[in-house]
Amino acid sequence: MTTTKAAQPGITVKVQAADFDVAQLQKSLLSGSAGEGAITTFTGYVRRDNENRQVDVLELEHYPGMTERSITEIVTQATARWPVLAASVVHRVGKLAPGDQIVWVGVASSHREAAFSACEFIMDYLKTRAPFWKKEQGDKGESWVSARQSDNKRAARWQEEGAE
């Protein structure tokens, strides 16, 4: 399944089961942001070990519709906050194996500071606001991954900084 949502020019959000090609994604981002001076990207991979459990399979469930909508909103917030010309998010769902790519965020801007900050902001908010849920299967059986307080703290940091 592939879902694409273009909220405004320069924003691309995809939720898909298929793997993605990082080089191709960066190329697309560059072509959508001609003349920009910086692209920052983040690629997340499935961990081999999580909290002392060996992970064999990671299954990602999501809320179709709300997922795309909430990621688009997060990216739109980032573009309102920093001078971003183009931004893309790809997030995979379904069954993944350790080492598999799970998420990609790319941000193009005139300057590195905005590109770094917007990319980090999108990841921090994505982890705490987009409706995805991870379930691990491994050496200690099957279990839903718990939300981390550290992720909430990282996301809350942006509200403090934004309030200044």
Partner: protein, 84 residues
């Protein structure tokens, strides 16, 4: 008609992914909908739906506290998110 969706651990614990309810003439809010589900399905559902960290969304937007509902709304119950 109301559509109610359950995701992840909540879906598994209830053994239910979605259900539809007729819209009551008298109207409904989120807390009363939750109470109605608990009454209809028993204490097992009450234990799950009243968990401290339960997230509730109306029409794909997370809400905090109670909120009025309208005919045609899509309501969702789910645990804290863990993507990325």
């Amino acid at each position: 008609m109301l559509t109610v969706l359950f995701f992840a651990r909540v879906r598994e614990e209830l053994g239910c992914a979605s259900l539809e309810l007729a819209w009551p003439e008298a109207g409904l809010d989120l807390d009363r909908l939750q109470e109605q589900l608990c009454c209809e399905h028993g204490d097992g559902w009450r234990d799950v739906l009243t968990q401290d960290n339960m997230v509730r969304a109306i029409n794909q937007v997370v809400v905090t506290g109670n909120s009025a509902l309208r005919d045609g709304d899509e309501i969702a119950f789910f645990p804290p998110v863990t993507g990325g």
